[in-house]
Amino acid sequence: MFYFALAFTTAWVIYFLYLFYLHRHLAELQKRLRARENENRP
């Protein structure tokens, strides 16, 4: 059971790390979009 718990925890840590990586990309895109909107504002 210990090895299963270790494998399970490792798997989910990796999945959440990837989700965090996607979240950072999204945050960067939102920042760039807001900057573009501010540029276009008269």
């Binding site: 299963f4 798997a11 990837y18």
Partner: protein
């Protein structure tokens, strides 16, 4: 539609987690790894098959959506390949007392990880986007040659890695099938999210509608 898929994936993951924990608790130690290791392996191989198909389609049609899908599938496939390689090493230590041994299945699985890591690095390495996309597509087709090796290596070559798995109870079988379904749905959701990000980035950078 995307939100429905997300909620279904979340629900399936929760149910399969509960079921796998219950089924794993009653399974012998050499069985319970399959609930984590095998779904990750299957999802990664499906993602790499998607990279292969999308790369061919991109070279044929030069539509950027194929390129975005290939890139997204490669990244998500690499994540699942990382999981199945690491969980495989954990189980190797539990079963055989060593973290690693040079057998066809393990070596081809490790090679698979390095090939798709190289694919992801290639996409960031070239500044000229057109050549980057074409070169990545060619590399994606070549890298797929390792996938059949991973699949058949344990079945046709003498290997310490078990070629298949059997279950004794319906609970274990259903936990296994549900875990595979949940992993495949999670892979699909992650690929779709990544494609959205790539398309939005392309829109921002070119300031025109991307080729769809």
């Amino acid at each position: 539609m995307r939100n429905v898929l997300l909620y279904i994936t979340g629900a399936l993951i929760l149910i399969s987690t509960w079921l796998c924990t219950t089924a794993a608790a009653v399974a012998p130690p050499d069985r319970n790894i399959v609930y984590v290791h095998v779904p990750a392996a299957i999802s990664s191989l499906v993602c790499f098959a998607a990279v292969f198909v999308c790369s061919i389609q991109y070279l044929r049609t030069e539509r950027r959506l194929w390129d975005f899908t290939a890139a997204a599938s490669a990244e998500v496939g690499l994540v699942f390949a990382t999981v199945f390689n690491i969980t495989g090493m954990i189980f190797a230590h539990a079963q055989w007392g060593t973290w690693w041994t040079f057998t066809p299945r393990l070596v081809s699985s490790a090679a698979l990880w390095f090939l798709y890591a190289a694919y992801c690095l290639l996409r960031t390495a070239l500044a000229e986007r057109y050549y980057m996309r074409r070169l990545s597509a060619v590399f994606g087709i070549i890298a797929f040659t390792d996938v059949p090796l991973v699949v058949i290596s344990a079945r046709f070559i003498r290997d310490i890695h078990r070629p298949g798995v059997t279950f004794e109870t319906a609970l274990q079988t259903s936990a296994f099938i549900l875990a595979i379904t949940a992993a495949l749905l999670l892979a699909a959701v992650l690929v779709l999210m990544r494609i959205d990000i790539l398309q939005a980035k392309a829109k921002l950078e070119t300031k025109t509608e991307p080729d769809s």
